[in-house]
């Protein structure tokens, strides 16, 4: 049977058509349904540009709003090594061919690099990978440099944003502020301790752009909303801070000392107005400062305070009622206690008939050991705890030390006596300042603060949580001790060194040996002055600590600095001249 060729052809054509339609349908379903999501994604990816919306890290300001740390945008200069070839530059009259060598010279004059170095970066990248498309020429250039480089219109030169941090006042409060790393993360100091306040959250968004690079309206999709950081307001007064730092630096350098600390604290609030450390850190240029000097010793490094502890011990004795300013004691140069402990005074002298005030005035270790012993060790230890000598402040400064104070059960025979005059115990300058703050504030200790508030970007002001205040001693006990400290000035050799005419000051000096880490003490001293002005109603606590001055009469190292700070505080905060005369307490009997 022969098939009808015409009919056969018709069937064949029909079959092919059906087949083709089937293939197309399948393909259509494949593209439109099965692969639809993936293909859409691909196309979106091709057109979309993911970008990071950089959040601004918050400012750190002083108490008056002076900016101490701010965020800036910097730019990383990058190169596409494989494309670093000759290019044509349009000038007014003609086109000029610019070789990579010439371009490198132009770049180098702006970035401060040698042209050879720039060419080397390109050559190195190409040597490693001939198709290299990315290499850094210089990181974190400023806006001016970026603009100048951009205007060169070098087609193989690219830029990327790099948020940076700037500290307009340089080393003023630099040791407190700390610094951030190249990646913008907090590395040290308050930047790190209060990162939760100032850190922002970078956002992410995706937009599509047309062939000419212009953003297509309405195509922006924000996946993560950027959130700026808050403004951290410190209690620091930057002008005073600078003065104190500069004066401290001058004094430390003058005596070739190892380091120095100076602190000014408000007596009635516990706020720290100035915390100076030397050597200082310029957070703009961290590498210039030795690793060991980058932090704030005032917070981080406990030292044995020595005689500045004596007013604290005296306040315990008076507050617990075992002594008065007139309590008498025979004070030889050397004493051996029944438990085997031996204590001597700093300078040779005959046996003196001293009152407790006289013990302070003479800064007698022997006298203070004898009188201190009249109060049980555990009582003294409790008082020391209440004075905050084993606790950290409210500053939020990271890695703050709580000092070294063993419990009274663990005091050996020698320590039983030496803690009364500040040996065998180590405190930070901030702890000592706080203990004096308690004396100056009617016996009530307010933990030291460094941060006033954190203002979030939406305007809400968050005050840091304050620890409880402690009534360490009775107000009248505090007043008595201040009077005794004032007599230390008025009846002692230091009067002409630290007294500002017209003003009353209460203070105490300290010259302390420091452990050498091998069970003994070093030959050099840490000298300190601690005091408060005006003595009739103390408003400001001043602490000065200088370590290992290279001079024979170390007592003279601190007073000039103490006085300079005193004068500056008087001027800066408009303290009126004192009314009334200093009380005269008997120092001998």
């Amino acid at each position: 049977m022969r098939t009808n060729p015409v009919k056969f052809r018709g069937t064949l054509v029909l079959a092919i058509v059906v087949l083709l339609v089937a293939v197309f349908t399948i393909r259509l379903i494949d593209i439109q349904v099965i692969q639809a999501a993936a293909l859409t994604q691909q196309s979106v990816d091709k057109r979309s540009i993911p970008t990071t919306v950089y959040a601004k890290r918050g400012q750190i300001t002083d108490k008056n709003g002076t900016v101490l740390a701010d965020s800036v945008m910097r730019y990383n200069v990058t190169v596409s090594p494989k494309n670093a070839k000759d290019f044509l530059r349009q000038t007014d009259r003609s086109e000029v061919t610019i070789t990579p060598q010439q371009a490198a010279i132009e770049i180098g004059t702006l970035t401060g690099q040698k042209p050879e170095d720039i060419l080397k970066i390109i050559a190195d990248a190409l040597a490693e990978n001939p198709k290299s498309d990315f290499a850094y020429i210089k990181k974190a250039v400023d806006v001016d440099t970026f603009r100048a480089l951009n205007a060169l219109e070098i087609p193989w030169l690219f830029f990327e944003q790099a948020p940076g941090r700037t500290y307009p006042n340089g080393a003023v409060a630099g040791n407190l502020l700390g610094f951030v790393g190249a990646d913008g993360s907090a590395q040290a100091g308050l930047e790190s301790g209060w990162d939760s306040c100032v850190a922002g959250v970078n956002g992410e968004e995706m937009y599509q752009r047309g062939a000419d690079g212009v953003r297509i309206p309405g195509s922006t999709v924000t996946s993560v909303k950027s959130q700026n950081g808050g403004t951290l307001k410190l209690t620091i007064d930057s002008d005073l801070q600078w003065f104190v730092q500069q004066s401290l630096a001058k004094q430390v350098d003058k005596y070739s000392a190892e380091w120095g600390i100076a602190v000014v604290q408000e007596a009635k609030t516990g706020k720290l107005l100035a915390v100076a450390d030397y050597p200082s850190l310029d957070p703009n240029n961290v590498d210039a400062t030795d690793q060991s000097n980058r932090g704030s010793r005032a917070f981080m490094s406990p030292y044995e305070p020595g005689s500045t502890m004596k007013p604290i011990t005296a306040s315990m004795l008076i507050d617990s009622g075992v002594a008065t300013p007139e309590t008498q004691v025979w004070d030889p140069y050397y004493i051996a206690f029944p438990n085997g402990a031996e204590v001597t005074d700093a300078v040779m002298h005959g046996t003196l008939p001293l009152t407790l005030t006289g013990v302070l005035e003479q800064s007698s270790n022997v006298g203070m050991s004898q009188l201190g012993d009249t109060l049980a060790a555990d009582k003294r230890y409790d008082y020391m705890l209440k004075f905050g000598l084993s606790s950290i402040s409210d500053s939020g400064y990271p890695a703050e030390s709580a000092g070294i104070l063993a419990s009274s059960d663990n005091w050996d025979n020698q320590t039983h006596y030496t803690v009364t005059f500040g040996q065998g115990v180590a405190t930070t300058a901030i702890q000592m300042s706080s203990a004096y703050q308690a004396l100056a504030n009617n016996g009530k200790l307010i933990p030291a603060t460094l941060v006033e508030s954190c203002t979030m970007p939406d305007g809400t002001v968050v005050k840091p949580e304050a620890s409880a205040t402690t009534q360490v001693i009775k107000p009248q006990s505090a007043r008595t001790v201040i009077d005794m400290m004032e007599n230390f000035v008025t009846q002692g050799w230091i009067n002409k060194e630290v007294t500002v005419p017209g003003y009353r000051v209460a203070m105490k000096t300290g010259t302390a040996q420091q452990p050498d880490g091998m069970g003994g003490y070093k030959a050099n001293y840490v000298v300190s002055n601690m005091g408060m002005i005006p003595a009739e109603d103390p408003q400001y606590i001043i602490t000065v600590v200088i370590a290992e001055p290279k001079v024979s009469f170390t007592s003279m190292v601190c007073p000039p600095l103490f006085k300079a700070i005193e004068q500056q505080v008087i001027k800066r905060y408009r303290i009126k001249p004192s009314q009334g005369e200093a009380p005269v307490l008997p120092i001998r009997f």
Partner: protein, 243 residues
């Protein structure tokens, strides 16, 4: 719809169409000169024809009210089409406007960015110049020193509180301790006492020395087109002749 509507009967003899049979029933009497309207389908005489052929009125099918109602309204069709075209055109115009707006947005965002950068640099300049290091150094360069003896004049009785004492020439804080509280941002910032021309001359000298160092590499370059020296910045922008 029916053929009645479509067919306009103009022939003299009335011959009812098949589809309209039931409806069209010519009952007009020829004797009457004026056409009568009867039933639901009326045959209207054409007056013009009547004039010519007075006895043969031209007739046509007149739609019933229902049919007229059912008839598609051209007016609405026109409206619909016009609206559609209107939408399309306005959509087109809108997207043209939006697209051109996109360029405007892009250029404004760009200028916003540029202004932000200018703001940043100027703010940074201001902040670093108002740093205590700079102010103190300038004050001391001008011969000012710190007098640390505070004295008050009480306005009520003119009393002088405190002991006035002249400051020593050496009581400046900076002298002898320069750089103790460094600020690396102040690098290159001149003091007010330094003459600007001197500072510029020094800078130019330095730049010339640097340019001389790099000169051998530029030998082959056309001197006019390629600035080998530092690019002078005017308002933060390079004053390059090349574009």
């Amino acid at each position: 719809m029916s053929t009645v509507n479509a067919s306009r009967i103009s022939r003299p003899q009335v011959r009812p169409q098949s589809g309209a049979k039931s409806a069209a029933r010519p009952t007009t009497s020829r004797a009457k000169s004026t056409p009568a309207v009867q039933g639901n389908l009326a045959l209207k005489a054409r007056t013009s024809l009547n004039k010519a052929t007075s006895w043969r009125p031209s007739i046509q099918v007149v739609a019933t009210r229902a049919q007229r109602k059912a008839r598609p309204k051209v007016f609405y069709a026109i409206i619909t089409v016009a609206v559609i075209f209107g939408i399309i055109i306005s959509n087109l115009l809108l997207s043209v406007v939006v697209a051109s707006g996109a360029y405007e947005i892009a250029s404004m965002q760009q200028s916003n960015k540029e202004l932000g950068r200018s703001y940043q640099t100027m703010n940074q300049d201001l902040d670093r110049l108002s740093s205590p290091q700079n102010l103190a150094a300038n004050a001391e360069a001008l011969g000012m020193v710190n007098n640390s003896t505070p004295v008050y004049l009480r306005l009520s009785d003119g009393a002088v509180l405190g002991t006035p004492e002249p400051a020593a020439a050496t009581s400046g804080l900076i002298a002898g301790a320069e750089g103790a509280v460094p600020n690396s941002l102040l690098t290159g910032v001149t003091l007010v006492t330094q003459k600007e021309s001197e500072a510029k001359a020094a800078a130019a000298k330095k730049a010339a020395a640097e340019a001389a160092k790099t000169a051998p590499v530029t030998d082959s370059a056309p001197a006019a087109a390629v600035p080998a020296g530092p690019v002078a910045l005017t308002n933060g922008l390079p004053g390059l002749a090349t574009r």
